[in-house]
C-alpha cells in the first residue's frame, strides 16, 4: 500500500469539516484548539501511518489548506 501524509496549513483552514468525512481511514479530525482566525482547524490523526496519500481530503477543501505528499512520488 502506498504511503503518504498530509500537511494542513492551519491558518488557511476554516474548520468547515468537509475534509473530515471522506478519508477511507477516518484520519482527518477537527482539532480542539483555535487557529489565528478563530476556527478549530482540521488535523491528521495517524499514529499508525495509515495515510496512503489518496488526496480525497484535499479535493474536498474549499481553501486549498491541505497538501498531500506521497513517498517516492
Amino acid at each position: 500500500m502506498a504511503k503518504g501524509t498530509i500537511l494542513i496549513d492551519e491558518d488557511r483552514c476554516k474548520g468547515c469539516e468537509l475534509c473530515t468525512t471522506v478519508c477511507p481511514f477516518d484520519l482527518v479530525h477537527i482539532a480542539n484548539h483555535f487557529n489565528a482566525k478563530g476556527y478549530r482547524p482540521s488535523t491528521l490523526v495517524d499514529p499508525e501511518g495509515k495515510c496512503t496519500g489518496c488526496t480525497l481530503c484535499a479535493r474536498m477543501c474549499p481553501d486549498v489548506a491541505i497538501t498531500v505528499y506521497r513517498e517516492g512520488g
Partner: protein
C-alpha cells in the same frame, strides 16, 4: 525517504486567503478552474471575468489576468475581450443572481451568438452576497430573507433552469450541469470545466458549465448539511447532465 507533493495549490491560484464563508463551495470551484488552467498550460493567455456577487473578488484569488464586470454583464465584457483578442481564453464566473436575474439577456444572447467564450455558472439558489434573498433559481418553498414563508411560485414565479435554457440556443456547443458534493462529483465537474475550455480552444462556440453550489451561511446549514441539501433538494429540481454536446466537442474527449 523522499516525499513528493501529490496534491498542492495550483499555480493559477494566488496565495490569498479567500473571504468565502467556511465550507462554501465557491472555493472548490475556483480550485477546479485553476487546476484545469494549469493542466492545459493556458495560464498566460487566459482572462477571467468576475461577477457581482460573492465572487466579486475572484480576481484576487486567480493568478491570471482578470476583469470585473458590472452586475450581469460579464458575457458582454467577455464578448468584447474575446473578439479583439481571439487568441486568448476568456471565461466568465457568475452566480445565479448575476447570470439568471439582472444578466439574463446578456447570457442568452452571448450563447445565441455563439460567442467563443466559456461561462462557469454557480447556482446556489440564493443571493449570497446581499444577505440571502430569493434568486430566480430559489426552489419552490425555499425560505430566504425575501421569501420568509417559502417561495410561492404563484407569487414569485418558477425557478429558472439555466442549462436547459441555454442548451436550446444554436450557438451553444457545450452545456452541462454538475455539482461538487463529494470527490466523485468534484472530479466530474472538473472534467466538464476542462472540456468547456477545450471547446473554446477548438473554436467550437459557446460553452457553459452550471455547477450546483452551496451557501451554508444563507441556507442556515452547516457546510456538511449544505452539501446534503444540494444532493437531496437541488439535484432533483436541477438534474445533473449533459444538455448539449455538439459532435465536435464529443470528439475532443
Amino acid at each position: 525517504m523522499e516525499k513528493k507533493a501529490g496534491f498542492a495549490k495550483p499555480e493559477a491560484l494566488t496565495d490569498a486567503l479567500t473571504h468565502y464563508c467556511p465550507g462554501c463551495t465557491h472555493g472548490i470551484i475556483h480550485r477546479l478552474i485553476a487546476e484545469v488552467i494549469d493542466e492545459l498550460g493556458i495560464r498566460e493567455i487566459t482572462i477571467g471575468i468576475a461577477p457581482v456577487g460573492c465572487a466579486v473578488l475572484a480576481y484576487n484569488y486567480f493568478n491570471l489576468d482578470f476583469a470585473e464586470a458590472a452586475h450581469g454583464r460579464a458575457p458582454a465584457m467577455a464578448t468584447g475581450l474575446k473578439r479583439v483578442q481571439p487568441d486568448k481564453v476568456v471565461f466568465t464566473y457568475q452566480g445565479d443572481g448575476d447570470l439568471a436575474a439582472i444578466g439574463t439577456a446578456e447570457i442568452v444572447h452571448a450563447a445565441s451568438r455563439g460567442e467563443n467564450i466559456t461561462t462557469i455558472f454557480i447556482n446556489n439558489a440564493i443571493y449570497g452576497m446581499t444577505g440571502g434573498q430569493m434568486a430566480p433559481t430559489t426552489l419552490p418553498g425555499q425560505v430566504t430573507t425575501s421569501t420568509p414563508f417559502g417561495r410561492d411560485v404563484k407569487l414569485a414565479g418558477h425557478p429558472l433552469r439555466v442549462a436547459e435554457l441555454i442548451a436550446t440556443t444554436s450557438g451553444a456547443a457545450y452545456v452541462v450541469r454538475r455539482m461538487v458534493t463529494k470527490p466523485a462529483t468534484i472530479a466530474s465537474a472538473k472534467k466538464a470545466i476542462k472540456l468547456a475550455f477545450q471547446a473554446q480552444r477548438a473554436e467550437l462556440g459557446f460553452s457553459l458549465v452550471e455547477i450546483l453550489s452551496s451557501c451554508p451561511t444563507n441556507w442556515g446549514l452547516s457546510p456538511l448539511e449544505a452539501l446534503e441539501w444540494v444532493e437531496e433538494n437541488m439535484a432533483s429540481y436541477y438534474p445533473l447532465g449533459d444538455y448539449k454536446v455538439i459532435d465536435e466537442v464529443k470528439s475532443l474527449k
